[in-house]
Amino acid sequence: MHMKAVTEGLRALMYTSAWYIDMANHGPEANSEKYHDLLDLHIPICKAFGTDQGFDVARTGIQVLGGVGFTKHFPLEQNIRDQKIGSIYEGTNGIQALDLVGRKFTSKKGQLLKVLEKELCWFDNEK
């Protein structure tokens, strides 16, 4: 269930980020800056959180099968090795985290976080 929930959460994050990219580049001009701001926060999270959690899901997959899951009899051990590089290339995850707090939080005098906060009030605005 943990693997299912995390995978579905990550997919929702990725699809929403992809939608933000479309809205930022091909949507109405007025909203373009807002979506670029949201993307600036979402992209490092997609990369670093996605790869870290993906590795954890692969690890759990092997754990669930036990000793035989560890062997080449199953494709899972290939998954875990393929997934490990994800947290290393295209911007190592530690650097992504430093960039998120050091640059993204401080850029435009904290505007990125304000835009995100407005988005997260979606449920309040529904009523």
């Binding site: 995390v6 959460g9 929702a12 670093a48």
Partner: protein, 85 residues
């Protein structure tokens, strides 16, 4: 911090999914079929039911680690910097 934000954002989008799934599930129930019968046969019903259960799991059993990350950040312990090389 990044892990914490990731958990919160994933949960937020999952909650949006759960809201839609719950509405669709409620829509299927109002016809004269009981939930158990619906779950036994209808694949869509199973999907909506399981989506809400998945999000319930995420909120109660995965999200608390964001709170523990917040506590760790607030502790702001500098011991790695004070260790001697």
């Amino acid at each position: 911090m990044l892990d914490m934000m990731g958990d919160v954002l994933c949960c937020f989008y999952l909650l949006k999914q759960a809201e839609t799934a719950q509405k669709k599930w409620k829509g299927m129930i109002t016809q004269t079929v009981s939930p158990e019968e619906l779950l036994a046969e209808n694949q869509d019903a199973q999907f909506y039911w399981n989506k809400v259960r998945t999000v319930e799991y995420y909120v109660w059993s995965v999200l608390p680690r964001a709170l523990s990350n917040a506590k760790t950040i607030k502790n702001a312990n500098l011991s790695p910097l004070n260790a001697c090389l």
